[in-house]
């Protein structure tokens, strides 16, 4: 693994991985740090093992959440902002976070992986532990629910 490859991977995925880990725990940076350390120790090519990194982050975050119920983000109680404040005609970041938190976890997970991490449904399916078509269905359902909640229907 080359330094430039790792840097490129971080530019592309660091924030998305942290957002992904945030779905289960309140220490997402630690989960991502640990997963990436594993990646480096195993000397895996980051760009070719993107799904692997997401899997490790997920496993670590879920494990932390299971160990402590306090770590599990409760709807509306996670004080950390998920998104940068936006400008212009973009969707309100706070509202998006609030309504995302209201979604069921399996649906929210697929939305996060698709919208912000840019993974394909083929890559999302094993992570979300469902079929490719089910991942697609959850994604469409999630979008519809969000649009309704945000009054954009």
């Amino acid at each position: 693994m080359k330094l430039e490859e790792l840097q490129r991977f971080l530019e592309q995925h660091e924030k998305c991985l942290i957002l992904y880990a945030r779905q289960w725990c309140n220490t997402p940076e630690d989960m991502v740090q640990e997963a990436l350390m594993e990646l480096v120790r195993k000397q895996l090519d980051p760009m070719q093992n993107t799904a692997w990194v997401y899997t490790v982050v997920r496993n670590k975050a879920v494990s932390v959440a299971r160990r402590s119920t306090k770590q599990k983000p409760m709807v509306g109680q996670d004080c950390e902002p998920w998104f940068e404040p936006n400008t212009g005609d973009a969707i309100d970041a706070n509202a998006a976070q609030l309504h995302l938190q209201e979604l069921d976890e399996p649906i929210r997970e697929v939305l996060v992986l698709k919208l912000w991490s840019g993974l394909s449904f083929e890559e999302i399916a094993p992570l979300a532990q469902c079929s490719k078509s089910e991942a697609h269905r959850r994604y469409q359902q999630g979008l519809e629910l969000l649009r309704k909640k945000m009054g954009l229907l």
Partner: protein
Amino acid sequence: MNNDFENKLSALTPTSKSINRDALFFELGKQQKKPNRQVSAFLAGAIAASFPWLLLTQVQSQKIETSPSPSEPTVVLLEPAKSEPYSLLEYRKVFEATNDLPSLRYVEASAEIETLGDLQKEFSLYHQ
């Protein structure tokens, strides 16, 4: 309509405190310094024969390795025999080492090590 909504959503930038990139890059550097191919059987045998009081763990397991490229450093892992106080004494004498002998040494040598003299020179440099 869904497309427009998707685009607007995906335009939101996830916020985060950064991870510790320095620690990550340091680890990467460490991994890249690890040996990556076996040393010649001749050199491994010669080291073991000449310095029997050194426990050359990697020699014993046939894992002392040199870099495949002359431009890359070679890392030789040596572990002085912990159970032999005499070994440690000799180790100091031969290589004019200081008193702080750790149980584990990573010695970076050039890829030009082909003889015991080369190896000894590298150790001397290391201990200066």
